[in-house]
């Protein structure tokens, strides 16, 4: 099996992985605001590096958030269009799982059962989810949610969201700058696909409504 994995829930990233979870090639940006420019060229480059064509790919997997709206859509629009043009299956994965997959192993080694993953939701909030580590494997217990950092359960916290709010979250230092990546997302996806388990569809997990307000009635002169 060969999958192309994408995630734009925070940074933009892409990876090609085998069914064993081995990464053939990967790319990731630092910044969180240029997805529309860099994503397609980045995918092109890793396909060249790995000497892979669309015909070789068995499935396209994409992080469906939560994440800032515009960036998140870049990845999903890209994944849907690639899968359509190649005629390949398309799957979604909750983006926080991409941090949880490594966090679960770290938590298990540290003897911790439950933990949270948190990323930057901007506007002084975090996207977060609560997980259990079962022998180093992550299991989603609650979430994803978006809220003030103070509303996150008091558990060891992994990811950039913990790094941003050290006063409110019990951050695990080595993971305080960790963002979801397509490479980690792809590892959780192939593990499930190899077992024949279902993934998500690619509906975006916005978690927030648009800011639009219905205008009130016009004030009359009298």
């Amino acid at each position: 099996m060969l999958i192309l994995s994408l995630d734009t829930s925070a940074i933009a990233s892409a990876a090609l992985l085998t069914g064993q979870g081995e990464t053939l090639a990967a790319f990731a940006t630092e910044d969180t605001r240029s997805h529309a420019e860099v994503l397609a060229p980045g995918i092109g480059k890793i396909m060249t590096t790995a000497d892979v064509t669309g015909a070789d790919i068995d499935a396209v997997v994409v992080g469906v958030g939560p994440g800032p709206f515009t960036g998140l859509r870049s990845g999903i629009a890209t994944a849907r269009s690639l899968a359509f043009a190649w005629g390949k299956p398309l799957h979604g994965v909750m983006s926080l799982d991409a941090i949880a997959v490594d966090a679960a192993l770290d938590a298990w080694r540290a003897g911790v059962d439950e933990f949270v993953v948190a990323t930057d939701a901007r506007r002084k909030e975090v996207y977060w989810a609560r997980y259990r580590s079962t022998g180093g494997r992550h299991e989603l217990l609650d979430g994803p949610h978006v809220s003030a950092p103070s509303a996150v359960p008091d558990l060891p916290a992994y990811g950039m969201g913990a790094g941003l709010y050290p006063e409110q979250l019990r951050g695990v230092t080595e993971y305080s700058g960790t963002q979801p990546t397509a490479e980690a997302l792809g590892r959780t996806a192939v593990a499930k696909l190899e077992k024949g388990l279902d993934l998500l569809d690619t509906s975006p997990l916005y978690l927030r409504e648009s800011d639009a307000k219905v205008p009130g009635p016009r004030k009359r002169a009298l």
Binding site: S34, P41, P204, V214, P215, L222
Partner: protein, 355 residues
């Protein structure tokens, strides 16, 4: 690449219409549009985030339907074209990402196209090659411009534009003041037919001498429009009737407002045409459907000996066929593809026909 009669697929997502169009040269094969207009009704205007979400949901179904209607496959397409600006940033992003992905997946060249020039380029689908000495008057909910088009594919100049609201936006705001709902254009147009357009004299923005100057020494806004003052004038007028306890003459206000819009748009467009040797005018954009604007443009073009071309309404409102049509013109003119590294540009100038 086939540069004679190329098969081009065009993608549009700059505002609230998700469009995919397919042309072969200047022949229209498919023009599929999915609109999120209904979702904006309760807000009284286009909400960018709602439009962007709708683009993501609509894109693949719209693409599939367009391919189906045209009876072609992605493999057969010679080139892809996408609106890269101007427009709503988040909305443009969806179409651009999708277009880049299709280009990457199929290896087809991608052209990043200017939305406003595409409103002109669509003219070739209805009547073939556009005439020389061409001008374009574009009026919609998102834009109001007068352009000089020396070459559709590489020489377009902005002569004038609105400095605040687009004309279609003014219709929406006035419709809200009059309690007529959204979108404002069709309902005001209909109501105006029963009203007296001379009952109230609403202001024509930017027409004072200090803005106009003369042909020799043009003022700062000789060919520009402003509609925000007009909207305010309508609100004041409504308040006066209410304060006097009189019933609101809605049809007369609608007709008078519509007359002010059509009058100032066409007056300034005629000035721009006659002072720039423009003898052929194309009227485009969604507000080209407005009966009074069409009639007055025709009347004044006739008076000045200017030929007028108005594409069918389905090609005037935002759509993917216009993007495909301009893309095909660029391909036929030997234009270089844009690659897949460009950024969408929400304020892309008309002088940039393609990236």
């Amino acid at each position: 690449m086939n540069r004679t009669q190329p098969l081009v697929l065009g993608i549009e997502s700059s505002c609230d219409e998700t469009g995919v169009g397919i042309v072969r040269g200047d022949t229209l094969l498919a023009n599929t549009v999915s609109s999120s207009m209904d979702e904006h009704v309760r807000f009284g205007g286009v909400i960018p985030e709602i439009a962007s979400r709708a683009h993501l949901d609509a894109f693949i179904p719209t693409l599939e339907q367009a391919l189906d209607t045209a009876g072609v496959t992605l493999d057969e397409v010679d080139a892809l074209a996408v609106t890269s600006g101007p427009g709503l940033a988040g909305a443009l992003m969806v179409g651009v990402c999708a277009a880049k992905a299709l280009s990457l997946a199929t290896g087809k060249p991608l052209y990043a196209i200017n939305h406003l020039v595409a409103h002109v380029g669509v003219g070739v689908l209805d009547g073939g090659v556009l005439p020389e000495n061409l001008g374009a008057l574009l009026v919609s909910g998102g834009h109001t411009e007068i352009l000089r088009v020396r070459s559709l594919t590489d020489d377009v100049e902005l002569l004038g534009a609105t400095i605040d609201d687009a004309a279609g936006e003014a219709y929406d705001k006035v419709a809200r003041i009059l309690g007529l709902g959204y979108p404002g254009g069709p309902v005001i147009d209909k109501l105006a037919r029963e009203g007296d357009p001379k009952r109230i004299r609403f202001p024509r923005g930017l027409t004072q001498p200090k803005y106009m100057g003369s042909a020799e020494e043009p003022g700062p806004h000789r060919y520009d429009w402003s509609f925000s003052g007009l909207k305010t004038a309508v609100a004041r007028c409504v308040e006066q009737f209410e304060a006097a306890g009189e019933p609101l003459p809605v049809a007369d206000i609608a007709a008078s407002f519509q007359e002010a819009v059509a009058d100032v748009i066409t007056a300034k467009a005629m000035l721009a045409c006659t002072e720039h040797g423009i003898s052929n005018l194309l009227l485009g954009g969604g507000v080209a459907a407005n009966s009074r604007l069409r009639a007055l443009t025709q009347e004044r073009c006739d008076k000045h000996g200017i030929s007028l071309r108005v594409p069918p309404v389905s090609l005037c409102t935002d759509n993917g066929a216009m993007v495909a049509a301009l893309g095909a013109q660029v391909v036929m003119a030997g234009g270089q593809p844009s690659g897949i590294e460009f950024a969408p540009d929400s304020s892309m100038p008309v002088s940039s026909v393609h990236l």
